[in-house]
């Protein structure tokens, strides 16, 4: 399940706010009663989409919302504790390999796209883990035990 980059809570669904305007002609009838006549109804217009249901903050999803909810597209803080390893443009997050979208990422938020090809992902994962082990040999071996 994806997580909100702001509050860190697991997200099962996303909220969106829509607005609609109805125009009425309001008058008094002969008996002095108020009459509401519906004159026009606008189309529904999105006010804010991709809102975390827990903290109500907008999550900057530049891709398909469905991809985000399926964790193929991830938005994370760079210091997220679930980031297992990082090398160059690749990150291992929850056991899966993601590539950092540098065009959309910012210093505060990483935008990650899942590496779908399993063989490529395995090669990158091994490479990232090996380089992590060279730098800090105890971390991964402790995790594997």
């Amino acid at each position: 399940m994806p997580k909100c980059p702001f509050c860190g809570k697991e997200i099962e669904y996303l909220h969106s706010w829509y607005q609609e305007v109805t125009r009425y002609i309001v008058s008094l009838d002969e008996d002095g009663n108020l009459q509401w006549e519906q004159d026009f109804v606008s189309d529904s217009e999105a006010l804010e989409t991709d809102v975390c249901p827990h903290c109500e903050r907008h999550i900057p999803i530049h891709d398909d919302t469905e991809e985000f909810l399926k964790e193929r597209y991830v938005v994370l803080r760079p210091d997220d504790p679930e980031i297992e390893a990082r090398k160059d443009n690749f990150i291992i997050f929850r056991g899966r390999v993601y590539k950092i979208d540098e065009g959309e990422s910012s210093p505060d938020l990483l935008i990650l796209r899942l590496v779908e090809d399993e063989l490529v992902a395995d090669i990158i994962k091994t490479d990232v883990e090996n380089s992590q082990m060279e730098r800090c040999p105890n971390v991964l071996s402790a995790g594997r035990r």
Partner: protein, 128 residues
């Protein structure tokens, strides 16, 4: 018939915009199917306009004041409206006595009809 405080038009009706905000939830299930769910949480805002000049008529309590405004029991006028005779917190407008309940910085008077006829007659005589 009430008049618009901006264009002075006589109004036999008002235009009211109702803005409804609805929260939707976008869900993707584990089998890949997705759906929109409509939440009951709705926010409504009303805005009242003059049908002639389309200026917003700044009623204090939008919906409850609409009927009183059309009934001329609660009216909004410019403080320099030539049809007003004013004395302190009271005003005479088209032969009826009103109490000034608010006066905005932009020169609008919010007036409420004095319903008691005897009181209105006494006050009205003093304002004539």
């Amino acid at each position: 018939m009430p008049k618009c405080p901006f264009c002075g038009a006589e109004l036999n009706h008002l235009v009211v915009h109702e803005l409804v905000c609805t929260k939707h939830a976008y869900k993707v299930h584990s089998n890949g199917q997705w759906e929109w769910q409509y939440d009951d949480e709705k926010g409504r805002e009303y805005t009242v306009f003059c049908p002639e000049c389309y200026e917003e008529i700044p009623l204090h309590n939008c919906i409850s004041d609409v009927e009183d405004f059309l009934d001329e029991e609660y009216i909004i006028l410019r403080s320099d409206d030539p049809e007003i005779k004013r004395k302190g917190g009271l005003a005479l407008f088209r032969g009826k006595v009103y109490k000034v309940i608010d006066e905005s910085d932009d020169g609008l008077l919010y007036l409420e009809l004095v319903e008691d006829e005897t009181v209105a007659d006494i006050i009205g005589a003093g304002l004539e």
